[in-house]
């Protein structure tokens, strides 16, 4: 039996992948009263706070502000949750890795799929908010599901890079927390992209999440299919990041075991 630690092995161990994801979901909701409903309630409550603060206090004038906020927020939290968990996944799974051979990429990927499950629940919350605030759900909503795929590929790439570094430098955990906060403000989650001053526009264009969030809102809020150009931007950012991630991870993975 060859142990190549690559894609083939990952496929062979797919059952482990599902079980790791199922285990995380199960453990998360264990001993909580309303269980899975939290994945729905969490984004709803955060959205409520943000809407009150920014619409009532700061007087932002965006059409359907509640739906605008929650749609951006769900995409951004998918990215931030999945990558943060993937970052620490290698050393939190040390116990397994030290004792049996399993393809190592399975750990970051399982965390990203786990975050995906949470996100799919959150999307129900998005749909509820849209319907309650008078934004109809039309067929173009399906293009928003494509956004999730882009963000997932992008997150796997970022997650692979982060976990490869975090094994050696645990500080990254703290640095990344701060970085995520900055990243959120560099992404039009709460504010409209138009208020970005011209000299800072490059911040948006360098930011893959700007494209993802925009892509997500096109189909959901504005009932039109995202342009081909926008799709290409999303795809390009996702794939390039994935390729870099796989490369970095493969270079480092044999040393992981010595550092956990």
């Amino acid at each position: 039996m060859k142990k190549n630690d690559g894609i083939i092995d990952l496929w062979k161990y797919r059952d482990l992948l599902w079980q790791l994801v199922a285990k995380d979901v199960k453990v998360k909701y264990k001993r909580s009263f309303i269980g899975v409903l939290w994945s729905l309630l969490n984004p709803l409550l955060t959205m409520l706070i943000l809407t009150i603060v920014f619409k009532e206090l700061f007087r932002f004038n965006i059409e359907n502000f509640a739906a605008y906020v929650i749609s951006g927020q769900v995409i951004f939290s998918f990215f931030s949750e999945s990558t943060s968990l993937a970052m620490t996944s290698i050393y939190t799974s040390g116990q397994i890795m030290k004792k049996v051979y399993v393809p190592k990429a399975i750990f970051p990927i399982s965390k990203i799929l786990y975050a995906l499950v949470n996100t799919l629940y959150s999307i129900i919350a998005v749909v509820i908010v849209c319907l309650l605030t008078g934004v109809p759900i039309t067929a173009s909503f399906f293009s928003s599901l494509l956004t999730i795929v882009y963000v997932m590929i992008f997150s796997i790439g970022v997650g692979l890079i982060l976990c490869s570094i975090a094994v050696f430098l645990r500080d990254l955990e703290h640095i990344y927390g701060v970085l995520l906060t900055a990243w959120m403000y560099a992404t039009p989650v709460i504010y409209p992209a138009e208020i970005m001053p011209d000299r800072f526009l490059f911040v948006l264009y360098c930011n893959p999440l700007y494209f993802f969030v925009t892509h997500f809102r096109e189909g959901l809020l504005y009932h039109q299919l995202p342009s081909i150009e926008l799709n290409l931007y999303c795809l390009m950012y996702a794939l390039i990041t994935l390729v870099i991630g796989v490369y970095v991870f493969n270079k480092r993975r044999n040393q992981f075991i010595l550092y956990i």
Binding site: L16, Q95, I96, Y101, L169, I257, L258
Partner: protein
């Protein structure tokens, strides 16, 4: 190569680099790389280890603490990648290196059977077929739905052993595991191992107990500080080991 050889270890060496002081924070790393002050000391846990295990053989590995036994087993099971040399393995390996490898203490025994099966590369469906056999062999029927954080080490051992042997591996690696559990269960495990051998499996056994190795194994090696100091027939080996270290 002889088709009867299921494990072929060739000139395997394993080097560990120990940073003289472990650097785990970014600040330290930057400061030290700027000053070029990261120094390592080399430690060779294994040097030029070679041996072959044939089909249907019980192979013993003897050695004192620190001889490199665990490192060798980790290389065999694919956890570690050797610095030099090569290991080729033909067949499925089930490692019993440490008990409860891949168990999640929060989950019940039932859930852990599936999880553990999956870490060995077996699907839920395949584990379903073996489920009853595992439960029966481990004698844990009443505790199936108890989270295993409440298990004793003996119960861990029984569950781990039952799962690893139920998947009928072609090669089973057993590391000191048999010393856990009571006399009855040890007997049962030894019988199970003999039965697997009869069915054509190979077993690599690591034990401190010379008696156990002598009674079970047919060939083996003695490791000392990462070197093979003797290999061959088990009786000679055990006598050698006994004389050398007592």
């Amino acid at each position: 190569m002889n088709s009867d050889v299921v494990v072929n270890v060739k000139d395997v060496s394993m080097r560990f680099l120990q940073a003289s002081e472990k650097i785990t924070t970014f600040k330290e790393f930057v400061i030290r790389s700027l000053k070029k002050k990261i120094s390592y000391t080399e430690f060779w846990a294994l040097s030029n280890v070679s041996f072959q295990v044939r089909r249907g053989e019980l192979f013993g590995i003897l050695g004192l603490n620190g001889a490199g036994k665990s490192t060798l087993l980790k290389i065999l099971s694919g956890v570690l990648v050797p610095t030099n040399g090569s290991v080729s393995v033909h067949g499925n390996i089930a490692p019993l290196i440490e008990l409860g490898a891949g168990f999640d203490p929060e989950l019940t025994a039932r859930e852990n059977i599936y999880l553990n099966g999956a870490t060995l590369g077996f699907s839920r469906k395949e584990m379903n077929a073996k489920f009853d056999e595992i439960v029966e062999f481990s004698e844990l029927k009443e505790f199936l739905d108890v989270p295993i954080k409440n298990f004793s080490s003996g119960m861990y051992a029984r569950l781990g052993f039952s799962i690893a042997t139920s998947v009928s591996p072609e090669i089973l690696i057993v590391d000191e595991v048999l010393s856990v559990g009571d006399f009855m269960f040890q007997q049962k495990c030894e019988n199970k191992i003999r039965q697997m051998i009869d069915n054509g499996a190979s077993v690599i056994l690591v034990s401190h107990s010379i008696e156990q190795v002598r009674s079970l194994c047919s060939r083996g090696i003695v490791l000392e500080r990462g070197h093979v100091v003797k290999s061959g027939d088990i009786d000679e080996l055990c006598d050698f080991y006994y004389e050398r270290y007592s």
